[in-house]
Symmetry: C2
Subunit: 329 residues, 2 copies
Amino acid sequence: MKKFLNSPQTMLDESFDGFVAAHSDIVIGGEERKFVRRRTLTPGKVGLVSGGGSGHEPLHAGFVGLGMLDAACPGQIFTSPTPDQMLAAVEAVDQGGGVVLIVKNYEGDVMNFEMAAEVSDGRCVTVLTDDDVAVESSTYSTGRRGVAGTLIVEKLVGAAAQAGMKRSELQALGQGVNRRTRSMGVALTSCTVPAAGKPNFELGDNEIEMGVGIHGEPGRRRVALASAHALVEEMVNAILVDLAPRRGSEAILFVNGFGGTPLIELYLLYHEAARIIDAAGLKPARSLVGSFVTSLDMAGASITVSLLDDGAARLWDAPVHTAALRWGV
Amino acid sequence: MKKFLNSPQTMLDESFDGFVAAHSDIVIGGEERKFVRRRTLTPGKVGLVSGGGSGHEPLHAGFVGLGMLDAACPGQIFTSPTPDQMLAAVEAVDQGGGVVLIVKNYEGDVMNFEMAAEVSDGRCVTVLTDDDVAVESSTYSTGRRGVAGTLIVEKLVGAAAQAGMKRSELQALGQGVNRRTRSMGVALTSCTVPAAGKPNFELGDNEIEMGVGIHGEPGRRRVALASAHALVEEMVNAILVDLAPRRGSEAILFVNGFGGTPLIELYLLYHEAARIIDAAGLKPARSLVGSFVTSLDMAGASITVSLLDDGAARLWDAPVHTAALRWGV
């Protein structure tokens, strides 16, 4: 294992401190590093809190700021944060209008966010994301996994909260966005958890994991590496079959790298994906290309398609000022 | 070699087309893919053109847009673009005020940009970047190499051009920024050029290349992997010895990933680097963390320190709207 670190035990704390220092204009770190929160909260706004295991950076801390999340709780690598962290974050950002929790559908996250919601005396409602079409259940999830589409839920709900939308409407919006959003990924290599020091799983020299999860958990099948065209076709078709969009619809097309794949390859995937969804009668009216929902150093990528109605396009375009996404500000 | 591609021969064209399609609000592709240029030029502004071998994405095409470059010419991987491409880009963006060429100091780039400048009838002046302190000459360069600091030159000169500065002043500004900017990098792994199909160079399981160039060319020495603290200390000290900043100065601190290193590690490096430059009496008043000047899929990172005077801080903060850097718009 070759990584930049001092020790696996201190890695997350040091990275947390670096993040907070590099973006001190946007965020502050919570006590005991329980959460990252917006430096300046918008008075009266409904709070938005997310979180999950570390190793997916910039998700979620990189999405804290104006127009997106108010706080994010980082767990240990690939491990849910604790209810204690979530409760501290909720208390730090609730200004009377309550809090929406955005939770990726993994058993640990779901359980811990539920516990935090229970002890928060009705302050929290939850939006669960489960956009991954690859498998119906998996190593850490009952039902579909929440993956890169979570970014889109956080962006759209964040923009609506910034515009003053109430908590119950935000929850309904988030659930609607999640229903209109589908993703699928593929791994070219494993990722290596620092404390383990060796790859999470093994892939042969010419083998890939089609439908991989963002912790390296199994997807649909191991297959031989194929052309980018064939890989993208399989992923996008799986998404489109599931999403069943009306011809003429508009969508966000999001090509996401898993951490070890460079931009030159991600744009090539975008090129393939845009052609395929275009041929299916779907217009890629908004685009995002980059490594936003990662799996440590895994080489690989996912594709996300999120159907846009007029309101969603406006929310996507609304100003956002976070470490990882920024426009209009 | 496991990469997302259809064939090494078509990879760059497909990636180019994907980039232009994903960012069609900002850029258009030049004829025969000779360059990427801003969709909307600012009337009367001095043109800014850069370029270089592909494999360093998002550099340079990702920096085309309002407040930064007007055009970028991509060469083959790690190979200079041709004078023909540069001339076409100059013609596409010159609006009568002439053009500033921003050129990384590699022999091929320098020679080809010089030829383009010669046949452009006095329309072009050049700013050469050579911010890498690792070695005094190298595989492809006589004198120091231009590396990640080039981003800072492009941002500051781009902001000044957007504000209406004349060509000769822009050249002087760019040369001044380059003099106040120093970088050094380290590789944990090699990169793999798709057409070659195998790693560019070999590193042992516990070996790193200290002072590596952005094409994988040799740095100062091969050493055993050390702690992040020790690696950053060596890089930052090399920079500070060379830069000799006055105590109390302000700087941009830029931690740049080479393509295969995830953000979690880059923020850890930032944490170390910020502490060291702070202890040296230098304030990291602006920060940038991410993979902006890459070497295909290489795992590794570089650190750049650029001294700020009042004018430079204002130029850094000025609005920019490109694929890879965006704020204030």
